[in-house]
Amino acid sequence: MPITTKDFPVLTDDLQEIFNEVAKRKVAENVGFRIFNVFDNERKTYDYAALHGLAGIQKLTEGQDFPNITGVEGDTATWTQAHYGGLVSVSKDMRKFDLYDKIKGIAKSITSEAFDKIDQSLADVLIHGQDTSYTDVYSETVSSICPDSKELFDDGHSSPAGSETFDNVITDGTNQNPALSRAAIVNMRNIGLTYKDPVGLNRPINYDTLIYCPALEDQAMRIVNSSMLPGTANNDVNPVKGWIKNMIMWPRLQTASDSTDASAYWFLADSSKMKDVLKCIFAERPSLDSPDVVYKNKNWDYSLDFYYSIGRGYPAGIAGSLGDETTP
């Protein structure tokens, strides 16, 4: 039986249900939402300011006024929201010939696409972490620099707060951008734990999270999960097993949306700090809205749209490698 104007509210409810179902599944599946700090902000722009080396704890004499905690202001950045969307068109043919499966398929597909593109846009942030700009999943050229004008992964991050620089390109002690290896993780743990903030105070970065793509999954599992040293005949314990608390396999890290092959790329993060660095800010989360009117071409156009932006803060908390031993 054809779908008629009378059925409009029912179809709308059905499509909404499909949207909710797919959205729920995608939110659970999308790895980017576990790595980025995802939050809502009503404003079109978000003003970020890095605060370095909040200092003020001092020895107090009896009755002394507490000293003011002073912040050394770091670099600033402004991230502007952009609007993305598309239409789910239910044509007259679909309704007349009761192509309900096709209607459902289109709604499922566009909802899935919205969340897939958001997740890929987040994966591209890591993949292009050693570029100053790249073409994103929406075919737009976007800047990928941090507030200090350096790439996300750079061997000379600087700050106005002091002369200390920060290197978050993974190194194994000999080469920068090494392939995923136990030696590189061990070396980065040492570098992270002895990290000094821009004012020279040791603020350890505990690289406890390994992020990789499917191509590196087997190797990552062997390096981290082996109870003895992997690939050797000796009986020494494998301390990496205890250090790495989270292993995050992100399928979208294998290839960027601009087809960059990232199958050798891998990343280390401090789970307590990575969300201070990577931000995903929504002014409006994806939603499906029904049309108010039935249009002249007799299509019923349901719109799916959202507003969001991506931000990169001062990146003390995440490190990356291209896995090819190149100099950044």
Binding site: A77, Q81, A82, V142, P160, S309
Partner: protein, 143 residues
């Protein structure tokens, strides 16, 4: 989506080459060697090149720190906003102003007096020196 960072501040602090242009790897190496940001901006990437430039005095404006450029601009009567003006634009304006000054100094006192009249500047010819005329004309042009 768009990311905007405070380029003006980064350039002023010597942490970026120019607005929208970070340092290249070669330039970063030169900075680490202790060459000043101004010299690196002027294309001097080795200490040898810096020594040579010091001897010949070439690219003087390009090598001046931003504070010195701001000071020169003020002395030349340029109306600038120090917080936002790009270094390259500032150098261009200073060069233009200096050229224009040189042209004025080439003129004779009667020629300068005629120019001042055209600009409706009030003056007493007897009491006004050549450099006074130049200053008055510069100020009138800025208005």
């Amino acid at each position: 989506m768009k990311t905007s960072i405070n380029w003006t501040k980064l350039v002023t602090q010597g942490r970026a080459k120019a607005i929208g242009i970070p340092w290249s790897k070669e330039e970063e190496i030169a900075l680490k060697e202790g060459i000043s940001a101004e010299d690196v901006r002027a294309g001097l990437l080795t200490l040898k090149e810096v020594d040579k430039a010091n001897k010949t005095g070439e690219d003087d404006l390009d090598r001046l720190p931003i504070e010195e450029l701001n000071k020169s601009a003020k002395e030349l009567g340029l109306n600038i906003d120090e917080d936002v003006v790009a270094r390259t634009d500032l150098i261009k304006e200073i060069e233009k102003a200096e050229e224009s000054n040189e042209d004025l100094f080439k003129k004779t006192r009667p020629e300068l007096s005629a120019m001042a009249k055209e600009l409706e500047i009030e003056f007493q010819y007897i009491k006004t020196t050549k450099s006074d005329f130049v200053e008055l004309i510069q100020k009138a042009r800025l208005k």
